[in-house]
Symmetry: C2
Subunit: 327 residues, 2 copies
């Protein structure tokens, strides 16, 4: 469930475009007006506003926003205003230029987007970057570990590549005998610390979410522990951490995101990029569930936590996207 | 270029459906009429005929054909009549139930279909089999080698999974410095017989065909041999054979198919399944080029070779699809 509050009868796209253009004009920028418009429109409506803006003023709305805004507020407005496929492609492309921490972003995109959303991202990636998402991720993740051949950890490419590239089945059908046999395979490999075994990777990266859920349930009831608990064995192993987060992301994405937000907020100085990414990408998808998970785990609402940790227009934009513009 | 000869002004789909229904009626089946209709219609036209047939007679045309026809003729008529995505999904699904020789069919499909055709196959696979192509291929190819752990060969899953799952970029842009650096990587790994190195697999399974062509050209001019020649090192290594065929399939599919046809025809008793698969899947795509490659390599036309090696309705259907119904 989305936290985004979309107006029932919003102004026409060209009226919105005109208001935005006014917000950029004169002395100073009217940030509140930008929030009041963009944080209360659906992806389809924002696309229409971009089109109307381009027609009326000959410039991409994103370009104008870039010129007018700065810092964290700029980043969240730009990221949220983008079409979801375009936004994911930007996040992924930026991640191919960064250190190994960006592997988590590939994983997050691969596990939480629907098969068709992932496909739209890939189409957009082709048209924008003139290459495939797969080749960039494979190149980035393989290269990463090429540079540190002495570390004993497994290459994240083994996991990330199949995760990102599979066109996963999304039906609810479950094969219970398969769930049993694959739970057994997982348990054996995990006991032997064979975390990058091709069977483990195969099961996690290709089976449908419904099937995986059945497999993990069976794992839990047959072997005494949740698989996520058994994947906690070695806290220093980055590959294992990524694998564990993958399992969480595939089965309980709201808990995965709750943790990302918790760490971002609790961090000294807070991690604005992570906050921005989660809020901008989930506000229209499952932010209501993420807020519930946050409240449950932290005994404080996500809105209060964010309000206490951020300020100014950035804070106002975050709260608006959380559906709590009036906190 | 397609060898299929489609009529400029074919009868309406319902007229065709009626003629087919007549061909099935009475004493015996009129095979020639079936050929005269189905082997001269495009995929879109065949789909329309199926719809019209279903509406008029309440049965899928494919079901009726199955009842009326037998043996090799049945197989090629059914396979050709199917919509390309459906046909590829059938071929792939049958291959997941067979021995390791079927790995070649996965490779062939992954390398010679366009990104969008491969996607259509995957969509159809979801709707028909209630699971993903990727999970079946990963399960099949991993399982295959699980059973023979003593063999030193590499698992085909390493190669086939990324080949099938990548949504490959199809533009003509080439990065020449990347082509140079990746040609060097390939040469180093091949010299060390590291055929399943993740860099080798990454390059071959994710780069665009235009980019790969530049890389292989650079390989040839810098290291003295075509990459396909260097991949001939160990004739007993099945993984290496598959890798070599993959390179051929990605860059010169007509030469790959020429060889499949040559082996199928020269085989004692000939390999009707391979003949059927190649003719049914390529007649509407690039059969003219394959015929040219065949003539060049064998100094005899493909039509003559097939005519000398097959007989009856099967032969007539093959020749019709090759555009040589009157040989």
């Amino acid at each position: 469930m989305a936290s985004l509050k979309v107006l029932n009868h919003p102004p026409s796209p060209s009226e919105d475009a005109e208001q935005l253009h006014k917000a950029f004009s004169g002395w100073g920028t009217n940030e509140q007006m930008i929030i009041d418009i963009l944080a209360y429109r659906s992806a389809a409506q924002r696309n229409s506003i971009r089109k109307a803006y381009k027609e009326a003023y000959g410039e991409d709305l994103l370009k104008s926003l870039e010129k007018e805004l700065t810092s964290d507020f700029e980043r969240i407005v730009l990221l949220f205003t983008l079409d979801p496929a375009e936004r994911d492609a930007c996040l992924a492309s930026q991640s191919t230029k960064k250190s190994s921490s960006s592997n988590w972003i590939f994983m997050e995109i691969a596990c939480t987007r629907s098969a068709s959303a992932l496909l739209e991202l890939k189409r957009y990636y082709h048209s924008r970057y003139k290459k495939s998402l797969e080749e960039d991720i494979a190149h980035h993740t393989t290269g990463d570990y090429r540079k540190v051949p002495t570390r004993a950890f497994f290459s994240p490419a083994f996991l990330l590549f199949p995760l990102v590239s599979t066109f996963r089945y999304e039906g609810e059908e479950v094969d219970m005998s398969l769930a049993k046999s694959e739970a057994k395979i997982l348990n054996e490999k995990i006991k032997d610390k064979q975390y990058n075994d091709e069977e483990v990777i195969r099961i996690i990266s290709t089976r449908s979410k419904a099937q995986l859920n059945a497999t993990f349930n069976h794992y839990n009831s047959s072997f005494g522990n949740a698989i996520t608990k058994d994947l906690k064995a070695d806290p220093g192993d980055e590959f294992l951490k990524l694998l564990r987060a993958t399992v969480k992301c595939l089965t309980t994405p709201e808990q995965y995101y709750e943790k990302v937000l918790r760490l971002a907020i609790n961090k000294m100085g807070s991690d604005e990029k992570a906050l921005t990414r989660v809020v901008a990408t989930r506000a229209e998808v499952d932010m209501v569930r993420i807020k519930e998970a946050y409240q449950k785990r932290n005994s404080v609402s996500l809105e209060q936590a964010i309000a206490g940790d951020t300020s100014g227009d950035f804070k106002r934009m975050l709260l608006a996207l959380l559906g709590a513009g009036d906190i």
